[in-house]
Symmetry: C2
Subunit: 110 residues, 2 copies
């Protein structure tokens, strides 16, 4: 069918190896649908994902890990909030005292 690729074809068209396409799927970064016989089927959307992922990686020297972690941040808003809080407080060291102070006050008020 036009615009559908098996793993080898998608590899050739995207610049990744077939091996890496399977790895990317395992990491949850680019997950193709499957044919009735379990063949991986990549469409145009996945092709674009693959191409731009490759460029992102080169341009910013990212690990795949980092991209997977960014995906996790979107899936887990608590985690993102907790990390943002830590980073914000770290950026402004003085704020830690306030933060602890407020925590202390919360405990007293309870």
């Amino acid at each position: 069918m036009a615009g559908t690729y098996t793993v080898g074809a998608a590899a050739a068209a995207s610049g990744w190896s077939a091996r890496m396409l399977r790895y990317l799927e395992q990491q949850g970064l680019v997950v193709p649908r499957r044919s009735a016989t379990c063949y991986r089927i990549y469409g145009l959307g996945e092709l674009n994902q693959l191409r731009s992922l490759k460029q992102l990686r080169r341009q910013y020297e990212l690990e795949l890990d980092d991209v997977a972690f960014a995906a996790r941040l979107r899936r887990e808003p608590d985690l993102k909030a907790a990390l943002d809080g830590w980073l914000a407080a770290s950026a402004d060291s003085g704020s830690w005292i306030d933060w602890e102070q407020r925590k202390h006050e919360r405990l007293l008020a309870a």
Copy 2:
């Protein structure tokens, strides 16, 4: 002085090893100031950073890497924007065609 700790004291007070405190500094996660003789000086702010980093890590099973990457995302808004774009388009596979279309239009307009 009250509220200031050398690396060993900070380690004892935070639950990290002195070795790890040096490693955290090297990764840019918790960077103490230095005395005139280059001793690391941790204040209350850093102590709180260390304690809450430890808890963050346990609670969400984070790698230090991941925290360092989250810090990078705040420092590099382009990177964050690029990643968010990729993730948003990946979440909604159909949008890739539009995204490529818009990129094409941007290039033509330039």
